[in-house]
Symmetry: C2
Subunit: 337 residues, 2 copies
């Protein structure tokens, strides 16, 4: 079988670690695996298929002979290095915010717009974690009954911020349990026993960058520049799993049962919807799973063409690393990798 | 000064305890204070103004010579006993769900519809905690620019369930910190490090009772039966303080600055809205405070007459006990108590 030489830029972060797990799980045909990170990670190793793989600091020839590079470093590094890796011959799937809204760069969720991946010129962007689960759940509806407006309010896990934020929540929880002082450094306020309506930086329109990502990325992926979208994105004291309360307006009325039936057969979606038995998606049960879970599907009683629902997915997997692996698998299937 | 003989039915619960604190803080003119609860609380005492007040089990003459009774027991007990207390001559402010939607019973938030309190026939209902903060923040807008639609997704503290739920979150947090097994009995799933999109029981329309309370109570209090309202209510691992992401549609366009100015002078509202400096309402800072905090006020970019905002309030105080005390104060000011 054709082997793929894989590089990971930002290998030691939360997404990089999850990416390696998923390559293992899915028996991805890895040839060489090259882990790249900042100089302070030089000398570290990371486990992969029973071996300890060394982490290398970035150098001039870091991208030579790589077929596929996952970039999950920061935006600035990605802006600088994704083109370098692409020029060296690799297809880069970028998980940062650097390339998503660049018109020439496809923004791809394989369940939604796989055809866009073929148009790449070396760089394919993956959407933000909160967008990915939203479009996986909404695109099947939009295809048969175009969505005109989306309101989404999120309940996002700290792992979306990164490994340091997971540690901060854990540290604060231990401090609380031991009656010690609780300190914050990753977030501007205590996250434990609290919720924070701020993710990213604030725009002049009063929306934060996470909210505008949901707006702009959803439109681009669904090829629907005219959908009206609003969001309030909120960090909650959960380790893994982003939840979203979603209210959509459709072109025609549609029953909850129709939506439920449609989503039951949609790729990447798992409907969990028996609320009378307390069965609905939960971050705690979605963590570690690949699916986008959808439940609480009901007619939105505030709008004649409205549907309300509750969407949960593992933000590190489908929200980031899994989506990147699926893009690579798509390219292999198309003979492009 | 005229003294008021006060009874508390359900005195030992989370709301009852907060009610006593607030009577102390506001120097409410308490004559006799009679604490009533189920037989299993007989013999307990509760502190009030430096004394230990005994808790009595309910008896036939429990309501004799009382002027004002706060009922924060369960719905069934309230249905049975609120009329008994009213017939015995007390004005009952009921915090349960038993009387809120009975047409003859006024449902009162003093900042919003104080005039309705005068129409009582012995029983005045207080709204559910998630409704109270919503109407305090929205009524000032509705008065000058009628609201046509509200979408609200909530982030509700466990204290809304009661004292046992606070204990469950604390126990689960200690168990997590000590690497012990986490068990749940109050909630159907672990609440610590999780969020649960279920509050109350589910209706046949797929909405849970907490969601329908927001719909029906908001319409009744604001005398606006035609407002379209939808909600997703979610329990989060926070002890005290309900947060709400709110998207409203108005009759005419209105700028965020206009809304901010209006709310800055609205009774019971405190605007905290400087997101660039991470200043916005938070449950952790709203806990123990009387105000309804509003921030993240912005034009809702998904609707030409839309406004989005973030509302937080202490669910035990303004959401329950404080509102009841304010109703009593209103009746005193009107010479009705």
């Amino acid at each position: 079988m054709h082997k793929v030489n894989v590089g990971v830029l930002g290998a030691t972060g939360a997404v990089g670690q999850t990416f390696l797990h998923i390559l293992e799980e899915r028996s991805f045909p890895v040839g060489e695996l090259r882990l790249l990170a900042s100089p302070r990670s030089e000398g570290k190793t990371m486990p992969f298929r029973g071996e300890q793989i060394p982490v290398h600091a970035l150098a001039e020839n870091s991208f030579e002979n790589l077929d596929f590079v996952l970039c999950c470093a920061n935006d600035n590094l990605s802006r600088e290095l994704a083109p370098v890796a692409a020029r060296a011959g690799a297809v880069v799937v970028d998980k940062t915010n650097a390339w998503r809204m660049v018109p020439e760069v496809p923004l791809v969720v394989p369940e939604v717009n796989p055809e866009d991946a073929r148009l790449h010129d070396g760089i394919i962007a993956g959407p933000n974690c909160s967008t990915t689960e939203l479009v996986v759940a909404l695109a099947p509806i939009h295809r048969v009954n175009p969505i005109t407006r989306i309101i989404v309010d999120s309940y996002q896990a700290v792992s979306g911020t990164g490994a340091a934020a997971i540690q901060e929540l854990r540290d604060q929880t231990h401090a609380w349990a031991n009656d010690e002082e609780i300190t914050s450094s990753v977030y501007p306020h205590q996250i434990m026993m609290n919720v924070l309506p701020e993710i990213g930086s604030f725009n002049s329109n009063g929306y934060c960058s996470e909210e505008m990502k949901l707006v702009n990325e959803t439109r681009k992926i669904m090829h629907a520049p005219d959908i009206a979208i609003s969001a309030t994105t909120v960090r909650v004291p959960v380790e893994v799993g982003h939840s979203e309360a979603v209210h959509v307006e459709l072109t025609r009325p549609m029953s909850a049962d129709e939506v439920r039936d449609l989503l039951s057969y949609a790729p990447g979606v798992c409907v969990v919807d028996d609320p009378a038995r307390s069965m609905y998606p939960l971050p705690l049960t979605a963590a570690g799973r690949d699916e986008v879970f959808v439940g609480r599907i009901r007619t939105d009683i505030s709008h004649p063409q409205g549907i309300a629902m509750w969407i949960v997915s593992d933000n590190l997997r489908k929200g980031a690393a899994l989506n990147a692996v699926q893009v690579a698998e798509l390219l292999i299937a198309d003979g492009l990798l």
